[in-house]
């Protein structure tokens, strides 16, 4: 296990790489979901107040 974590002396390069990738990928999931949710909220509001009533 220790051997795995130390990465043969390359731990300071390997683990930050993994962390960077995971962080950026996770952020993208978050952003995409937020963007869809806000579009849905906005559309709901528009239809609630607008000319057209939701069916």
């Amino acid at each position: 296990m220790m051997q795995f974590l130390l990465m043969g002396g390359y731990a300071v390069y390997v683990w930050p790489s993994v962390a960077l990738a995971l962080a950026v990928l996770a952020l993208n999931i978050l952003w995409a979901r937020r963007s869809l949710a806000s579009a849905q909220r906005e559309a709901r509001r528009r239809f609630a107040h607008g000319r057209r009533e939701p069916v």
């Binding site: 999931i29 995409a32 869809l36």
Partner: protein, 278 residues
């Protein structure tokens, strides 16, 4: 037949619904493949002869690098289709690619620097491969910046599409930089004449990661495109019907745990509102 397919996907309500249903089919494989590839690649492949365990950065760097370039191609193609056929959905796809592409490029450059330091002795060099990849990042950022400069979506679509299409010249430069010029960066080792130059035990987890990254891209892209479609359609009646349908919400897929909840938009039941609109 291809044209029927093309027109169907050009219809925002159709695309919106199908995208919602397809999302988990990409999200779950993405999670499983990336997890398997990462654990296998980091923990169970033998260390490389020259680079020891340092080579393991490959399992992130290579998939991210492939996607960084290929997402750009998808973006430019979608932008071209949107420009030529005035297709809203295509513009929505192009606009949704930018953040994802920029993210893959950031991962590529970041992991590349972290790999370059121990192997080349430097984080950065003005090498053809590195420089053209950096230019790719600027193209994505320029595209995003240009779009945000317009209030009118239709004008933003047209202007940014032109930028995306012109920027495509950078794609072959990134691709062939290691062949055309004498580069610090190694040449292609997977897709090359004579087969991959990577030993099979190292190659399998890499392929898992690459396919996993593709699935991840597809899943996140679909979620983004749905948001873009909603914003573009404004007053279309189908949206009212869609949103009124029971269970239509971002995370409401029946409490289906981490990732399904994470990626999935609504699993939308069939609703009778299929007015095709392009």
């Amino acid at each position: 037949m291809a044209w029927v397919w093309f027109h169907r996907f050009g219809s925002p309500p159709y695309f919106y619904r199908v995208a919602g249903r397809l999302t988990p089919w990409f999200a779950w494989p993405a999670l499983v493949l990336c997890l398997a590839g990462l654990v296998w690649g980091l923990g169970f492949t033998p260390p490389e002869w020259h680079q020891g365990d340092g080579f393991r950065i490959l399992y992130i760097h290579v998939p991210a690098a492939w996607l960084s370039v290929q997402v750009y191609v998808v973006m430019a193609l979608a932008a071209a289709v949107g420009l030529i056929w005035r297709m809203k959905v295509a513009h929505a796809v192009a606009a949704s690619c930018a953040t994802l592409g920029a993210s893959f490029t950031v991962i590529t450059l970041g992991t590349g620097m972290l790999w370059g330091k121990p192997m080349w002795g430097t984080f950065w060099a003005w090498d053809p491969r590195l420089t053209s990849e950096l230019l790719l990042l600027f193209l994505y950022l320029g595209y995003i910046g240009l779009r945000s400069g317009f209030d009118d979506t239709a004008r933003a679509d047209r202007a940014s599409a032109v930028l995306a299409i012109v920027g495509v010249v950078d794609v072959p430069i990134v691709n062939y930089s290691v062949v055309w010029w004498n580069s610090l960066h190694q040449g292609p080792s997977i897709i090359r004449a004579g087969g991959p130059a990577i030993a099979v035990p190292m190659l399998i987890p890499l392929l898992l990661m690459i396919v996993g990254f593709y699935c991840y891209f597809a899943a996140v892209l679909l979620v983004r495109v749905r948001g873009e479609i909603l914003r573009r359609e404004r007053n279309a009646q189908w949206i009212a019907e869609e949103l009124a349908a029971p269970g239509a919400g971002v995370g409401s897929g029946g409490g289906s745990g981490a990732i399904a909840g994470t990626f999935q938009g609504a699993s939308v039941p069939n609703s009778p509102a299929g007015h095709a609109r392009i």
